[in-house]
Amino acid sequence: MFASLTDKFQTIFKKIKNKGKLNENDIKNCLHEIRIALLEADVNYKVVKEFIDSLHDKVQEEKISESLSPSQQIIKIVNGEITLTLGCKQNDLSISPAPPTIIMLVGLQGTGKTTTAVKLANYFRKKGHLPLLIATDIYRPAAIEQLQVLGEKSNLPVFSMGKNESAVNIVKAAIKYSSKKNNDMLIIDTAGRLHIDDKLMNELQEINENIPLQEKLLIVDAMAGQDAVNSAKVFCDKIKVSGIILTKLDGDTRGGVALSLKKVLGVPIKFIGIGEKVDNFEPFHPERMASRILGMGDVLTLIEKVETAYSKDELEKLDKKMKDHNFDLNDFYLQLKKMKNIGSVDQIMDMVPGFNNLKNRIDVAKLGDREGELKKIEAIISSMTVEERENPSIINGSRRKRISRGSGTQLSDINRLLKQFYQIKEMFKKGPKLKNFSFN
């Protein structure tokens, strides 16, 4: 019922895929469904309107109805349009030529500023900088402590002066402090505020006027609705926001807000937050986001991640095994272990074309995602004989009982594991061959 935008698009394209030629009515229906899908993804009403109008013109221009493979052309056009709206190239953060570089994070309450501040600091440390986090949320109970605890966990320094100093004074003191400690990257965590709260918006303006800020980043929740454009607009008007960080993209939201913000404000989206861990943080890639929205899967990201986890030889070997239907429990376990390094199974499924709509059928999310699940699988597989691992079909009832005793697990665990194994095997048989998204 609450199909994501990706699923929507896939349904739309499936409908038109089987048609050789499209008539005017088909195009109208297709555009209508794209419109509904975009609205359900929380793309702003006005942005959708412009988007559909422009799409309509393009479709007319390209004479879709006379073309031989209309569905592919429409996909291409829609993808192109979304990419165009999102902005064509990746926008990195600018570094001040005269250190320190000072970055301020702003946004509504609960969008993830504090978490993002720490992620950003961690990102810069990896790039060889010496970051300092500055706690200026003097309003929310325990906000300063939150930053301190997070900083401590990641071994990042946090500057704070308690709740009785003004935000701008805290920042000034932090700059002085940083020059002694050689911190070249200062990240200011501010209090969450409503855009219509004049007093707090003035506070931001005061910092903006008195501190040489290199970047002013607006933190936006990827699940935000239609009003996101309005609040973001006020932040942009008041302090000239230089970039956007989209948070909580690890859920099932399609993040239509990304499309709206870029279109309405012209401010680039620079990073995305994709999880609760400090390194669940990536630069934003417009073309990847567009293809993810379209259900083409985030192939580029996956390839990058697969490349770091697998050697080319390994990948070819695996692909051959799949092809020859020799994929056995040994491989299964090895793959689970590798996948764990790439990301959760769920995350991977999201990135592979054709797999994201399998999610409903298989409970893959449970696979290897839970702590300890992998250990259990390891125990079960190592309690099997070599023969059983290579040819799981021989595992009958009495063998299952033996394996269960040997591994100290329940019979149901073994049944589930075997079921999952066959599902994965089946998926690879039907799904795209690994070669299709290996190195090109």
Binding site: I196, D221, G225, Q226, D250, D252, R370
Partner: protein, 306 residues
């Protein structure tokens, strides 16, 4: 606090939302060229309020059938009344308000995605119940987010409610177990449980919540349990998925709509009620401890349209 006072505050909090909606509504009516123009503007208005495509389509359908000219010649009030009736009809619920059962232990558990306002509303609920002479114990089951326990502690102190102690990283279900035991030992009648924010798609985190519920059912089988999901008024259609998943896992008894003091309309609760029939029970607009109100469909819609 008298009832009249509560309503005037409620309206005041919703003032910005209300003014904008009502202004647009007036404009919408007086500036429409014909029926299709009017319907398009109505659609825009509803979508921009986050009602979602499905609820919007239903409302549009109702207006398809009216004789537009007749409405126009009469006046704006007819149209407004019709819209009001439709919205109230969707939002109305037979579910009871949050009531404190005097003969039992009352447990109120707050759940929701990250940043939706669980801890703040836990403080507000405690404040309200404390003011009508309840004995409250607060349970910080968010042992994951840094300093979440401290945040709740500060709020508990302000309210003058007790909070059981725990430390970061503790098993949330065992914290809840301790909370219930403490409530019994100290003869408290209300337990308020603040849980960690989690995205509804994280299977393991959702089963953590299910475990907490199991502990409650086992340790306080006779309690009156209210599971409130916080929905941030600025959220879009994903909030429907949030409500669906949390409800599937836990059986949510009601929604607490938060952050209504901004310009977002919170129309998503209309979509949630329509799709999933989960009632809105509380509404929070403002950062003060007393900015919490019982949700009344009529008042909510009236505040939007008047």
């Amino acid at each position: 606090m008298n009832i009249k006072n509560i309503f005037s505050q409620f309206k005041e909090g919703l003032y910005k939302t209300r003014k904008e909606f009502a202004n647009k509504l007036g404009f919408l009516f007086s500036n429409s060229k014909d029926k299709s123009d009017f319907l398009e503007k109505l659609e825009e208005l509803l979508i921009l309020s986050d009602l979602g495509t499905s609820a919007t389509a239903e409302i549009m359908n109702e207006f398809q059938q009216i004789n537009f000219r007749e409405y126009k010649e009469n006046n704006f009030i007819f149209f407004k009344e019709k819209l009001k009736v439709i919205l109230i009809d969707i939002l109305n619920s037979t579910a009871p308000d949050i009531k404190i059962n005097e003969n039992r232990l009352n447990i109120i558990m707050l759940v929701g995605v990250n940043g939706s306002g669980k801890t703040s509303i836990a403080g507000k609920i405690a404040y309200r119940l404390k003011n009508i002479n309840n004995d409250i114990i607060m349970v910080p089951a968010d042992t994951f987010r840094a300093a979440a326990v401290q945040q709740l502690k500060i709020l508990a102190c302000k309210v003058g409610a007790e909070m059981i102690n725990t430390k970061e990283g503790a098993d949330p279900a065992s914290v809840v177990y301790d909370g219930i035991s403490a409530a019994r030992a100290r003869k408290k009648n209300i337990v308020i449980i603040d849980t960690a924010g989690r995205l509804h798609t994280k299977v393991n985190l959702m089963s953590e919540l299910e475990k907490i519920k199991r502990v409650i059912q086992k340790e306080a089988n006779d309690c009156s349990l209210e599971i409130l999901q916080t929905i941030d008024a600025t959220m879009g259609q994903n909030a429907i998925a949030q409500a669906e998943f949390f409800n599937k896992s836990l059986g949510v008894t009601g929604i607490a709509l938060t952050k209504m003091d901004g310009t977002a309309k919170g129309g998503i609760v209309i979509a949630i009620k329509k799709e999933l029939d989960i009632p809105v029970k509380l509404i929070s607009c403002g950062e003060k401890l007393n900015n919490l109100y019982d949700f009344k469909a009529e008042k909510f819609v009236e505040a939007l349209l008047d």
